[in-house]
Symmetry: C2
Amino acid sequence: MKELLKLMDFRPDIRVVDATLRDGGLVNDFYFSDEFVKALYETNIKAGVDYMEFGYKASTELFDEDKFGKWKFCRDEDIRKVVGDNGTDLKISVMADVGRCDYSKDIIDRKDSPIDLIRVATYINTIPAAADMIEDAAKKGYETTCNIMAISNAQERDVETALEILGKTPVNTFYIVDSYGALYPEQIARIVDLFMNVAAKYGKKVGIHAHNNQQLAFANTIEAVGDGADWLDATYSNMGRGAGNCAMELLLGFLKNPKYKVYPAFKFIEANMVKMKEEAKWGYDLQYLMTGLFNQHPRAAIQFTKEQRKDYTEFYKELVMHD
Amino acid sequence: MKELLKLMDFRPDIRVVDATLRDGGLVNDFYFSDEFVKALYETNIKAGVDYMEFGYKASTELFDEDKFGKWKFCRDEDIRKVVGDNGTDLKISVMADVGRCDYSKDIIDRKDSPIDLIRVATYINTIPAAADMIEDAAKKGYETTCNIMAISNAQERDVETALEILGKTPVNTFYIVDSYGALYPEQIARIVDLFMNVAAKYGKKVGIHAHNNQQLAFANTIEAVGDGADWLDATYSNMGRGAGNCAMELLLGFLKNPKYKVYPAFKFIEANMVKMKEEAKWGYDLQYLMTGLFNQHPRAAIQFTKEQRKDYTEFYKELVMHD
């Protein structure tokens, strides 16, 4: 947190990305009602959010369309039904995973699409494939980010090498993704520094996507802001895989740019998220703290949650045994 | 967070204070079962916690004993029933509020008491009264801390003056108390610096007691650690007034001193806190975020919670109108 005394002011370069449908979709298999999505879109506009991520551009070859809601696939025509020509300041984003997306076919030219931003999600070992997707999307006219997942498991030298490769692509933003919710603010500071150094060299921005396994998603996000990260992911009511993400309502309350308004977030949560929370299950609990502490993928904790288990100590023993 | 690269090591001066009964008692009017208190005591010993706070030494003249559980009053004989002669490394603490405690009568000599530490809680405008209580307790042989509440509302010059007064007393530790859960880590860093400067001059320690209104209680606590604060308050499952406190299980998972063990915390939570959470109500919710944002006492939010209201936007309007 290096921006001491800057709390009263704001950086106009900040961009807030609403990932509620995309990361929240991992909780409910992307089954959101049309009313929910429409209300979310209108809320984001009122709240001054910069980007709304609708979901994934997942391969229909790999994923069964009967087993997921439409936002797993984010067809342009489905987005159009919500945003029309989107004559607003809110830009539209989708995520495309390396190896799970038919991008050359499914991503059309930007001028024919309601989408503005393609976010390419990758692990550290598939950076060349990510670079290829970025080149493809940029050539088609899109803004792009590269979201490096499971960053807490990546070696710093590998990250540097990866960013050097990405620096030479047209990507706009390098994204730090703490998929395991394993990082403390002190580590975030170190990682942001590493990212910022390469970003400065190539004229790129840095972003942060945090998870709440240790009740640190918001704290790590504002730590990253203080260290120079400009692109910030958040979701309403923290909705997201496992322990969830940085809460949009916390982030909007923190940011000082008067374009951001927190009241529309409260209104949306009252009308939509309270009910959603009764149907879908996410948020901080001991099993997520544990996988965070062990720097592991939350999948075992998600399974524990699904089975409505409450034998936390047995779960801990399972983690210790398999570690 | 200035202790970059120190995450692998630890400071032996760190002290962890379990405030579950004391701050959690504000949620359930101090009605804890004897089994719960005994299990908590044994957990703290196993977890390597340094101090266990049993509750308040409240005046029986001011407070009706029929309306509160016994830990509002913390009679020495009630503590004895739990700890016996307490031949353990866990020290026993109670809190005494300025103006709500008959300390000259109710606090007896340490040699005749199971209590080791008296924590004097005060607002910034009653420091001389706090100093008098500290002198009294120190003369009787106790360790003492002075916990300055609602620090987010205090002017820095007033805080300096207050700490200068306290520096001349025998108090061991100056405590920062973010009663309103209003502070961001960046502000914590600034306040800890202020406290550390006066503390260094008088050979005192600095402590932190955080609230979770903005999901920052743990983050603010570890920010304070990085800035030099040694005394850290936490409660199991965040139990505490309103949005609750820094979670003990998060703090024990973070601290690297091998004397601290997180597994007993998981065990205690599984056996005791899951059930407690069904009976008593605390934890992050929008109404607490709102009072935090407005830098207000959480009492209106607590009332909102008690009435099981869910009309967050109405509550927001009430706060705006009364601000």
